[in-house]
Amino acid sequence: MNTVIRLESVGKKYRLRHQQAVHYQTLREVIGRTWKGLGSRLVRRQGQKRMTREDFWALQDISFEIRQGERLGIIGRNGAGKSTLLKLLSRITSPTAGRILLKGRVGSLLEVGTGFHPELTGRENIFLNGAILGMGRSEIRRKLDEIVAFAEVDRFLDMPVKRYSSGMYVRLAFAVAAHLDSDILLIDEVLAVGDMGFQRKCIEKMEKISSGEGTTILFVSHNMSLISSLCSRAILLNAGRIESAGDVASTIRAYSVDISTRSSIDMTQLPHYGTREHIFTRRLSLFNAEKIPCSTFVMGMPMVAQIEFACLKRIKDVEVGLKISSINHAAIHYFSSSWEGLKQDLEPGIYVYEVTIPEILLFPGQYILGTWILRDGCWSDDHVQGITAIEVLGRDITGNFARHKIKNTFEKYAHSGGEVYLPSRWRFWRGE
């Protein structure tokens, strides 16, 4: 397989203007600023605020290569430069430094339904959007049926898309882009909008075009389970630089360590329930087995949570609990200190309770954490829901990160409602 994308120390610099809130400028401002600049140059010196311009490198010194048919995941926090990278590769904007070499037709889906016109019908939008993406009329006509079938909008094809549900809209937009005969496909977080069933369909489609037709795919997402199920390789961007690159598992692990800020949540600003006369929960911190702050966990691996609270008055029989809910806020697991024999009397002060869950038995996906604290064995004094979400990644039975069919099965079950995995033992024999 040969290299189809090569980046050689690519950088992208933006010029930030701090003064105005609007992102476009008017002539008067340009003229005015020149004068003001002159004035402030005279007045400054006494540590005045520097105004106007600052160079900001959205990307810096990015070098990597991608071979044909590879599926590369790009992960990183908001503002790490992921979308800028895709914009450079799709030539929407040009780099400030370095160079990019590409081979083949580049198709991009950076936003759902870009170029769709709400007044036009589904059919008209397929042609319009196809043309914007670079498809010829005959090519679109040839694929029309396939696109419509994939998007499941056949009955609404001649209805203006402004009357479409958002799901239909997303499906149609993705369908057009996915049927573009591109050699390189760039996708930015667009699947986040679709429902689970459609996400799966898209993933399958991408796997198909990648392995079948040799399309190279670059995929940006915050959804680690999507990344790990689709991609063969990943890079982690941080503040415009490549922080880690390699196989998906290790890159995601690097990322989950990297997002440590989200693994420790200041709860003082969150809505609390209960009387809170005696106790106020202040912070929830999450760690992996090695005690590294972390909010992404692997199926079957440990999770450690620390709940920090202020005890305001002397109280008896304190029970601290941690709750895991599904993304729809349906409770799945309760972990209670009193069940495990910890039911303490406390003097006023700050306390940290730590709970270790030896194995996370949840299917891949996102789950929500909550805490509660009871006093005197029954009074609910402080109760907080939806503190943060954790991401659970799948793995196969042998204990590695799964990229086998088996993990797709996990996800299928998770999406259809069953969230809890319990290990079981199987054997079989031939009957009479």
Binding site: N2, T26, I92, P95, I100, L101, E119, L128, G214
Partner: protein, 279 residues
């Protein structure tokens, strides 16, 4: 897909170089010209009461007002053809010019979401407004045919020159439109400048009157407005040579239009690299 491993890449993106293979890409995306203008035409009269009738009403009403003011009240000379015909022959290229100019100037900003999310040759956006203007032009042209027939002015060989004058108006409109469109991305002042230019242009172009009323010493200066040549030409061709046309005027107007077009194109290409960043 069995290239040798060291086969060269198709595309090299570097900071200073303008993006891509310009003309070849325009050709590859040629259908987008059609689709963008098709979209604008389709969408234009959605949710309007009388729809396409607006394309008919607008020139008709303007013609009536101009005939009344310039022909009746000001009693300007009609150059041997009926005054309504004189006005309509001037209005046809003028509306094409002003419509295309304002549409193309605002086209990039109006399609900001496209420009910041998808790559395609940016030039297609302003150029496709030409086709939209052409549709209006053709509708008006049918009305004009009726009007000329009513006054007994039938087509003759002079009409063969019409495409040239149409090109002249198109070149001037697109040239100015490219300048404004690119500036508009960066400085939204041009949103306010353009309506003013169009309104002002209506009075300094011989739309409601014949350019023969301009004193002779001023003619050459007047011809710097490329629409003077285009409008005079339209009138000359449509009236079967009954109105005057000054070759010098035509030459100057054509040169100005050509200059606008070439410089506009160069300006646009210089600016297009940062469109997505500042729009």
């Amino acid at each position: 897909m069995t290239e040798s491993p060291n086969e060269p890449f198709d595309l090299v993106i570097e900071p200073r170089q303008s993006i891509g293979h310009f003309w070849r890409e325009l050709w590859n995306y040629r259908e987008l010209f059609y689709y963008l203008s098709w979209r604008d035409v389709l969408v234009r009269y959605k949710q309007t009461l009388v729809g396409v009738l607006w394309s008919v009403l607008r020139p008709l009403l303007t013609m009536l007002v101009f005939t009344f003011i310039f022909g009746r009240l000001a009693k300007l000379p009609a150059e041997g053809i009926p005054y309504p015909a004189l006005v309509f022959c001037g209005m046809l290229p003028w509306h094409f010019f002003s419509g295309t100019l304002s549409e193309s100037s605002n086209s990039l900003v109006g399609n900001a979401n496209l420009i910041s999310k998808i790559y395609f040759p940016r030039l297609i956006v302003p150029v496709s407004t030409l086709l939209v203007g052409l549709v209006d032009f053709l509708i008006s042209f049918v009305i004009l045919l009726g009007l000329l027939g009513w006054y007994g002015l039938w087509p003759d060989w002079h009409w063969l020159a019409l495409p040239f004058f149409l090109l002249l108006a198109a070149g001037a409109a697109l040239g100015a439109g490219l300048w404004f469109a690119a500036w508009n991305v960066k400085y939204r002042d041009f949103r306010y400048v353009i309506p003013f230019v169009v309104q002002f242009g209506l009075y300094v172009s011989p739309v409601g009157f014949s350019s023969t009323i301009m004193p002779a010493p001023w003619r050459l200066l007047y011809a710097l407005n490329p629409m003077v040549g285009a409008i005079d030409g339209f009138r000359w061709a449509l009236s079967g040579g009954r109105t005057a046309i000054d070759p010098q005027t035509l030459l100057i107007s054509t040169a100005v239009a050509l200059f606008l077009l070439v410089s506009g194109l160069a300006h646009f290409r210089r600016m297009e690299r940062e469109f997505a960043d500042v729009i």
